[in-house]
């Protein structure tokens, strides 16, 4: 178990990332609803995202928020349900955060470049 300061900062990070995610999910869903109006094609999506620094910034933020939010929530689940606490859990979840961020950014760059 981390110290009170680290635990509290994790809690703040999870709440803050949740606020970012709430906004990102709304924008994402609204864009999806808007984008499928005239049928959905890969070409149309790529046309919107390729070379767009705005969408690059938006989806990078989305990925970062998810990579922060999910591992902290999972940390609680692992502690409560399986009694897995301590450094090994935190190391595994840090790795999970890196994997989430890497996979997310790979997808973001795939539609940007």
């Amino acid at each position: 178990m981390a110290g009170p300061r680290a635990e509290t900062l994790l809690w703040i990070a999870q709440r803050a990332s949740a606020a970012v995610l709430a906004l990102c999910v709304l924008v994402h869903l609204a864009t999806m609803i808007y984008a499928v109006q005239g049928g959905l094609t890969a070409a149309e999506i790529l046309d919107r995202t390729r070379g767009s620094f705005g969408w690059l910034a938006f989806y990078s933020l989305f990925v970062a928020a998810a990579a922060v939010h999910a591992p902290i929530g999972l940390r609680t689940v692992l502690g409560e349900w399986f009694g897995w606490r301590g450094r090994t859990r935190d190391a595994a979840l840090a790795l999970f955060a890196v994997v989430l961020a890497a996979m997310g950014m790979r997808a973001v760059f795939a539609v940007f470049a």
Binding site: P4, I12, E80
Partner: protein, 238 residues
């Protein structure tokens, strides 16, 4: 009203079992009256706790038909569906015998949560004058009537899941002291209540608030602690 109540009472320790008793129904009968009748008229070996009988001492809490309640102020009319009662010791605490559970862990957690008052002043100082209308005083007032009955602790899902979790009563007590301007424990107490065993473990299920016989809101106290701890962490004080 049925003339007789069928009452199943937990007998023995953790590996005990329910035993059935027939208890005469009376007007305005409380669950504690029922237990007392069994002990006095049917089976003197039944162990249970009570003291004040008027909802002040917090010693008679038990699990009544599945929910934790203070038995001295719980009327049979309100809880005995179909003339049946099932009375067990409080959940989330080790059973000593019959309806008596070991409250040590519950109160040790009050101490661990910084539940002791640490005075700022000495006996040579004048009385502290705390304005009744001040925000801090109102927040402390909202949680200060806790009688330490353990009902919230028995109702809490997180206590059941996380053995070290301080629980709603201890955290509520800590919150009233955080709001007490005469208290000097400050950051020490906030450190004690932060983290996976403290306020951050609360899932806001609100079972404590729903069950509290004094109608306190430990959930609100815990949310207050989360805010106070977060503010201290952001100021770099934690």
């Amino acid at each position: 009203m049925n003339a007789t109540l069928r009452v199943s009472v937990w007998r023995g320790g953790a590996d005990g079992a329910f035993r059935d008793y027939d208890v005469p129904r009376r007007a305005s009968q409380t669950v504690l009256d029922v237990v007392t009748y069994i002990q006095r008229a049917l089976d003197p070996t039944l162990a249970y706790r009570f003291a004040c009988r008027v909802g002040m001492c917090g010693s008679c809490a038990m699990t009544v038909n599945g929910a934790p309640r203070w038995t001295c102020r719980t009327h049979v009319d309100r809880v005995a569906a179909g003339g049946r009662l099932r009375i067990a010791p409080l959940a989330n605490l080790p059973v000593i015998r019959d309806l008596v559970c070991d409250m040590r862990e519950f109160f040790d957690k009050w101490a661990r949560a910084g539940g002791r008052f640490h005075p700022r002043a000495t006996r040579r100082d004048d009385f502290a004058r705390v304005p009744p209308a001040s925000e801090a005083r109102k927040l402390a007032d909202a949680g200060i009537e806790c009688i330490g009955c353990g009902v919230c602790y028995a109702a809490c899902d997180v206590v059941a899941r996380v053995p070290g979790y301080l629980g709603p009563a201890a955290l509520n007590r800590a919150w009233t002291l955080v709001q007490d301007e005469r208290d000097a424990a400050g950051i020490t107490r906030l450190r004690a209540v932060a983290g996976e065993a403290g306020c951050h473990a609360c899932h806001t299920h609100m079972s404590c608030t729903e069950r509290c016989p004094k109608h306190l809101a430990p959930t609100a106290a815990i949310a207050g602690l989360k805010r106070a701890v977060a503010a201290a962490a952001l100021r770099g004080e934690l």
